[in-house]
Symmetry: C2
Subunit: 192 residues, 2 copies
């Protein structure tokens, strides 16, 4: 008799098992065999939730993005000055603890994977837009120092990606206070 | 009768064939079979130059670094103001054409690979130090705005890595003039 399980919850468990494999062994080891084992399922049960390897990887990637976007939305509810809001917002996009480091590891693995796998859409435009919107927001608040909005977007995007990449490469340097300071300095530079 | 070949030259040819495979198919496809085929050698001949897969990959990675470091050294011979020198120097660290994009693709592939392969030393400290030295140089010239040398190094490193990563992900945005402008703006920010 089949067990009654929450389909979405099980998909999340599988996606998180996928993250763990990717983080520890690399994306090329994320096969139905290793993932099923990590999630405590048979390969047949795994195929029930994800019939194809690609759809499993796509879901695991979406879940990373979803977690970040939820944190960003939660910030909207907080009372913050425009400048503080942007700093807190950007701080959500760099690894500051074990959980966000894991997300970052998985994210970069997918990005590198997507570069050489035709048809695998990493779809990182959402996060790129999240960063771009910070500049537009500052501009609309009359806080942006320059008029070249596009260049400011590109430069902030570079800075944020670089911070994230560095912490991914050297996770023992993860330090929320330090990252916040660096972001504050940067924002102080670009506002007037 | 064995052909007379320049051993170092042949190793370079093999390393460049390795780059091409990595760039087009990903590092996990860079096997002795695909590399030998790309380089126009038998697998036996390939093993003559590199008896182990790891030593081939390590050499291909070193060659990327070597090419960058040669360009950086060439800059020393040019007559430039301290500020111009740093801008030109940093510009060598982001992709500005097909060749430097290829280097960047191979570089990121190695970095991602090194994260999950025990014992494969990506050794990116050399490039990290190249960037750190820019800040020390500006400081020694009395040009650095702040006294927190370490934070300035970290922030510049983030900015440069981010620019490189963005151009790797979206190579159709490669634009030497634009990159130079962004670096100039950044340096203008951090100097006094």
């Amino acid at each position: 008799m089949p067990k009654i399980v929450d389909h979405e919850k099980m998909k999340n468990i599988i996606a998180e098992a996928t993250w763990k494999i990717i983080s520890e062994k690399g994306i090329h080891q994320a096969t139905s065999r290793t993932i099923a084992k990590e999630a405590g399922l048979s390969q047949g049960a795994l195929r029930h939730y994800f019939s194809k390897q690609e759809s499993l990887l796509a879901f695991a990637m979406e879940l990373v993005k979803e977690k970040v976007l939820i944190r960003l939305r939660n910030l909207n509810a907080r009372e913050l000055s425009p400048q503080e809001r942007i700093v807190e917002y950007l701080l959500e996009l760099v690894p500051t603890d074990e959980q966000t480091l894991l997300e970052m590891e998985v994210w970069f693995a997918f990005v590198a994977y997507g570069k050489t796998q035709q048809g695998f859409d990493t779809n990182y435009e959402d996060l790129q837009n999240a960063i771009r919107n910070c500049i537009t927001y500052l501009k609309n608040e009359g806080l942006l120092r320059t008029t070249d909005e596009e260049k400011e977007q590109e430069t902030l995007y570079a800075f944020m990606n670089g911070m994230a990449l560095n912490l991914y490469l050297e996770p023992d340097k993860i330090n929320r206070t330090r990252s916040k300071e660096m972001i504050q300095d940067y924002i102080n530079w670009i506002i007037r």
